[in-house]
Symmetry: D2
Subunit: 368 residues, 4 copies
């Protein structure tokens, strides 16, 4: 069985989630497209990264990501570091011929994201931006239903990503430092909403946004509210906040079309609410438990009715990327490419611009 060496940058939240994914896929998705071998893991804290290497069973740990770039046994570079460490290592790895998986947001600014995309695309390696919610079974099913016309012509998309951990002025992580994070709820949560909006509905044409910081002395945004128009003419909202008390990980979205509607809440990520196609007397939103064996992700798992967890989305994502590498296939449309990563940044930046200018901002994208 063909193997691929994996080098990981970051050992904390995303480092753990991604390492788990590579371990998990190798015996659940059998046979795997490529068998991941966990080669090296890099991080700034020597003791912590050493411990992580033992825990996740990487061959070695290093405090210099350049060691991973230089390691010829590594075929896939996975960047789960803070946002300020996305661009340089990812570009370097790609230019060293490694396929790259980079967490979102791709860069701290649209310019930086564009640069990552431009430089990496030029190398010809496979690139995937870690919008892992595309790999929720219910999201994939929603995409299929939309593509098949089951919801008809789409009129509305309402997306909001609500968390509540941000309401403590003493909190201090890189996520609150503009130089490391680029932005707050916008880059962290808002880009997820933007990406699914694009994946499910299509391209965004304009935004009218409000970006807001509530917590005293905080340097990044806590929340954003946006009225949005799509190129297709559909209209809706994009919202994100770290201050929705009681909502722990509530990435909720609804689509209304001329033939049907869909509703999703990440806190019940195994369910998709589906409306349409019923007779008048028994019309209603169906609570679909998305665990049928024929689903492209659920084939890896258990019999119908046995649900998966949040961490498992990364396994689906890793499997998708490894398959594209093994088959020399496309990461798009189901995986977010670095172009998708760049476009999400461009739209996020337009929301900030709109908030400042008070004007609806039309979106225009750079091409290569």
């Amino acid at each position: 069985m063909a193997e691929i060496g994996v080098g990981m940058l970051g050992y904390a939240f995303m480092g753990k989630a991604h390492s788990h994914a590579f371990r998990e896929l190798a015996y659940l998705a059998w046979p795997p497209p490529l068998l991941p071998r966990l080669v090296g893991i890099a991080g700034r804290n020597e003791q912590a990264v050493g411990e992580a290497a033992k825990r996740y069973r990487y061959d070695y740990a290093t405090t210099d990501w350049r060691d991973l770039v230089a390691d010829e046994s590594i075929g896939l570079f996975d960047n789960g570091g803070p946002n300020s460490l996305h661009a340089e290592p990812t570009i370097a790895a790609a230019e060293a011929g490694k396929h790259v998986l980079c967490e979102k947001p791709l860069g701290r600014t649209a310019d930086e994201s564009y640069e990552v995309w431009r430089r990496v695309a030029a190398t010809g390696v496979k690139h995937l931006c870690g919008f892992n919610y595309r790999f929720v079974p219910a999201v994939r099913l929603a995409h299929e239903l939309v593509q098949e016309g089951r919801v008809g012509e789409i009129r509305h998309f309402r997306g909001r990503y609500l968390q509540d951990w941000g309401d403590d002025p003493t909190l201090d992580t890189w996520r609150f430092h503009p130089d490391e994070a680029g932005s707050g709820a916008l880059g962290d949560l808002g880009t997820h909403v933007i990406d699914l909006a694009r994946y499910l509905i299509g391209e965004i044409a304009s935004v009218s946004g409000l970006v807001k910081t509530f917590v005293a002395d905080r340097q990044v945004d806590d929340a954003l509210e946006t009225a949005v128009e799509f190129e297709s003419g559909a209209v809706g909202t994009i919202e994100a906040t770290r201050l929705a008390f009681g909502r722990r990980n509530a990435f909720q979205w609804e689509i209304n079309g001329s033939e049907g509607s869909l509703y999703f809440d990440m806190e019940r990520m195994n369910e998709l609410q589906v409306f349409g196609g019923d007779d008048d007397r028994t019309r209603g939103f169906r609570t679909v438990l998305v665990t049928e064996a024929k689903h492209p992700f659920m084939e890896f798992w258990w019999p119908p009715g046995h649900i998966v967890g949040w961490g498992d989305t990364f396994m689906h994502e890793a499997h998708h990327l490894l398959k594209a590498i093994a088959d020399d296939g496309d990461v798009a449309p189901h995986g977010a490419t670095f172009e998708d990563g760049y476009r999400a940044s461009e739209i996020a930046e337009a929301i900030v611009r709109s908030s400042t200018s008070g004007r609806r901002e039309a979106i225009s994208f750079r091409s290569l």
Copy 2:
């Protein structure tokens, strides 16, 4: 027991709902503040209004609302006619010394609404604008919880009123005629969201809106999407649509504050979702069935757990107005006055202006 004669303009949807309310309150809310006597009902279609008079047991029917204004036995004029018939009869009735209840939106434009308010306020009669959702038990409870500080400092309000009956280009009612209705989903549904936003959160400072018509040849809006900022600094969204397939009467809103959160859906109008005040291990949104006997509306009804219906909100509203009349008390804050009706129109118009201009529009209100 003191009586009050009621004259009703309109016999269709609102005429039926209001007549039902006056009938119902007189034996449920015992003793009533004033015993309503249903005197006369006016409508354009002679046969239909005659039938309605028999059905709801008014003493007489008329095709000329001026008959009601001239009738000295009528102490309360209730205007449930189309929007184009709100201003003139309501003003005339008030100037004839009758208390007035006028359905929302108060006028077709902010100017018209202002004029109704100005002229009626000058007469000194009691005036209530029919934002009946203030009289949903769960909404009143939400208001109380907010006022008591149970949700803390409010950061977000997300309100949307979703219906789905508008997706048929052959539909033709006065609601689709700009001259009769003034606007579409905006005046019909959007003003409800605006009014509850103001009742629950406080005054709105600015709006960034998109107003949209999807159905071919339709003369009024089908939907609106708005990012909104409140004077307090809270931010959120206001949305309304007649094209959310599968949502029949889904007036949903959520409030997030520093101490708690509230969620409501009109399709489950007897429930309020309440978050806050729990220990970490058992924190979660509580599904509160708002039927306790101590609630200001539920005292009229059944033992706890036995729910009320949509039509019953009008009984609560009518009771509130009759009590203000009987006691010479204030309609505000729990009832919407004509000033509230005017302000909702002003904000609705700013949403339209913003949609056209592409700019965030600050709201300013006229005073008397």
Copy 3:
């Protein structure tokens, strides 16, 4: 329009609910099959029944129900008194030629219920036993779906009626006195479950029951648990309790058949959960808001999506009975006849017998 005089026994919970129903139907269900005229109301407390007569606008009050029986202007005798007052007045009214509506349980024992049925049936008047939950729109829809074969061959019925007001040893109403009530949760709540089981599934063949009193010094049962088999071979459970803390009026039932399933909760009485008839990928329970205009009860009400309340079931029930009277039609199958009332008592008694004997008890019914 033909009228019918109504005489009411009882002015408390059921007296209020039934009086409200007769008032309401006359102008919502237009034209009514017969126009109810509220003639007289009887109760033991002179002051209270006098107040009730004013409130519900009966022509007169009396402390002797025999006055109602003797009143020739009364065509319908409605018995909403305590259980110990069901038999004698109801029989007397029927034998005086009046149609009769009697609250459930029909009698305190199966013998008493049988006697009421036998004596009343012999008179030829219309008789309806007040199992009002047959008149919930969602229950009627469920009945239709079952009859049409939409759920296929039924395998399971699970019914439970959960309330939580009984956990106070100092509570004292007639409902806790065996001589007045006959039984506790069994007659009050359990018979509702038994009746809907019979209405929706068919006749019950045997029961294995446990009847339990938890509260010290209480003279009637607090709860019952029953494994049940239907004549069709379907199996399931029947449960009722006044001690399910947090469940206010949770009459919940589920039906599983070879083609579909149905689920209902009285606390969300406007919804029916319907499963069946979907493709594999989008199968799921549909939350059907039972408010479509074509529904036999909803035609009386508001546009789709606008829900009704618990009290409105009595209006549907009263309308059904008045129509049977006006047309000389059958109360069955949608209304519970006194035979249904008797059969519910017979089954309830078998549950008690089973609890005592420790044996599964086969049910056999007496006929006339």
Copy 4:
């Protein structure tokens, strides 16, 4: 780090789930109590078990489980085979000094289960019966709340395990062969309900059951319905079925006590509904997302709000057993011992006896 060699019997559903668990725990629960080394896997089909060994990365595969028993490098024998293969290999492994994990039901009959318990207990090894639902985070929280008195004196337990895959007469697996499975829904699903009833409420005193086979020519039961009494005096129901169309994996239970209530549904396994401790106005069931870091299982996982999947319960179970082995601690009370496995069988058999005899059956347990 101390290691323990694992030998696995069975490679299908449970073999996959358990192998996944051992792989997963070693890098999520860091440091693990013991580091599992996957040594050998046994199964009847040579090709399939060989493939499984590669997939889950066992050192070797064998078609004779005696090879595992004889392998001195194996310290833990995990029996995920069909029920007919539970007793002999499990006893042999224990008598060879290996700790044992055996899937439920422990044996096909109470006698067989007793024998497994007796023989294994005599060896002094650690033994755990695979009632994995004790290792659902929400179930563990429920246990804690009950133990702390948060629900008060318990009056009711209603448990039902509903699946819907059994309605096809052509299905043929060992689960439908009495000699291999012992029973149908009873051993497969019913024992899970029995075990959680005992874990959460306490010992069961008597059962009144109905066991039913619906599908033609099926040799095992499809469903059971039971009224149950606990030694504490609490009463309730235990139900299981493979014919609840639309319920995929709906293991639902509710507890009502004098101070609170709890509700759980396995299809939303990350949620616990908790009632109690609120003021009257805002009382209601809280939807608790059981993902707080302080929870004994959730410490292994992601930040709050990020849910786990069904398969992850086995990781929690494996961790619990390894910790008991490493510390020479007790498997009870949070893990089910073989005594618990035996008792579940004894109760299951009493349900069958009751179904045949038509009598309530008191439970008595054998001791060692």
